[in-house]
Amino acid sequence: TSNEPAAAPSSAAPAPAPAASGNDQPGQKVVIGFSAPAADHGWIAAIAKNAEATAKQYTDIEFKPVEPTNDINAQISAVESLIAAKVAALVILPNDGQQLNQVALQATAAGIPVINLDRVFPDKLAYRTWVGGDNYGMGVAAGHHVGKKLKDKGVANPVIVEIQGIATLPLTQDRSKGFADALKTYGFSVTAKQDAKFTVETGNQVATSLLQAHKKIDALWNHDDDQGVGVLAAIKEAGRSEFIMVGGAGSLNAMKEIQSGTSVLEATVTYSPTMASSAIKLARLIAQGKGMSDLVENQVPQSITLASETITKENVDKYLALGFES
């Protein structure tokens, strides 16, 4: 039994490097429960994979994932079963923060620290720490990229189209708000928006008709690189190239497109699934009662928000290693 964390799996999945600090010293053995939506598309799949890969790196973590599901009712049941199993910490990516709030409260009440990943619980009493991306910030980043480009080109009254992800998720609404707010600073606004469902096929379908609806487009923001594959296929099929496109999340595909320099996709704004690795690490520290060795505080902070970065042809090389396969 080595003192080193177990080797990262050889898969191409970007296994996050272990932090180079004292935090990785093996400690007391902890059981970490993990619950997330069904891994039915690239981003969520990457979340599940990253969580598992990180947990495997530590000999002192026993990883206990439960059936991922898109049914709230079943996710509640899943979390209940983890509470009943008395895990040391719970990492939860809820299908909907509000709907799982109560069961997270139950966990907290049962003395189990909850690490809330990505979609946030409304009630701060329901979780110990939140780690996630900045959805509003993502929209802002995309908005600035588009706004600046169009301003530089001197386009007046540009046609700006937005393809959202699942419309009923709060994060979708945050992203759109950020996008609109940033555009406003340039005096622009969104001409048309439609929602898809985070899948290649729905992206393709929505884009096909949107391209018919707008014969000339100046810029297009697509919230999600998974569905972006389908959007790009539709654009190629229609033979359109008069506009710039920005993606969302930061998949490997998207980065390669950007790198090629020949694609309408010239940038993507990150929302990295590496956050799952961080969540597992935080869960371990919290369960073991440790703080973060790079910070002065004795305890892990209450919330950590990843920054949304803009990847373009100029800086893409730096990000390639973090891109997830959609």
Partner: protein
Amino acid sequence: MKVDTRGVAVREAWWGKVGEARHLGLVAALVLLAIVGVVTKPDNFATASNLVSILSLAATIGVITVGMTFVIIGGGIDLSVGAIMALASVWATTLATQSYGPFVMVVCAVLVGTGAGLVNGLLISYGRLVPFIATLAMLVAARGLAQRMSDRKTQLIQSGNTAIVELSTTRLLGIPLLVYIFALVVVLGWVLLNRTTFGRRTYAVGGNPEAARLAGINVRRHTMLLYALSGLCCGIAAILIMARTTTGSSTHGDLYELDAIAAVIIGGTLLTGGRGTIIGSILGLLIFTLITNLFILNGLNTSDQLIAKGLIIVVAVLLQRRNLKERAP
């Protein structure tokens, strides 16, 4: 008066019904799954808290399944159940409704559910739409309406109305109230189907609508009532899901229609109508729920789960296939 020598077999108690030949396969499948549970997770599966958790999980869709059983025996189908439940949950949790307190919220959910069901019924009985289409239209429209009402946001139950949430958190003899509600709906459904003229007519209307009509049954009105009944069940289910999730949302009950129909059919009810039992449907549903629970406990990864689930469904049904063979092609 003559004594019916076979009258003995008739006066069975409900446990006799569960054990009936036609349900044996289902019971066997349940027992098998339970054994798997006990063997793979000796410390977790057969605990009181896990069993309660299974029943709580089954409750919402269970209530819907009762209504669905009526509709399918009556020769129809209801694709709109999940969407109606969502709409009822949203309507009952708007700020306006919530300002009147929990009682009004409950009434609201029930009325919205029944009302939407009634619209289905009217379209089908008097508008003569095929049930599949009418309820599909209701599915889309009700979800759309729910999204519109809630502005696509999840609506939290407010602190003044926690009485509703207590249906899920308050326990009697260790069992949450919502499980009692589920049980009550099942019992009432069973009685309605087996002990009343309404139930008898449901079999007639589904089995041979022409014969039912010529026997003086108002087939249209009856059909309409069946969908209203299903809507009512969706309204009750809305209350349960509100209790469990502390919210109303347009995303609630997604794809419940498939699960409920599957449970009813695994339970031995024919999609063509005229036959079936509530007990079978509930057993069918419990099989599904048990499968999910076992997966949760064993932490299988999703892909394998799906594959396993497919196989288990096939095996469970093969176990009871003998009853279905009459109608198989």
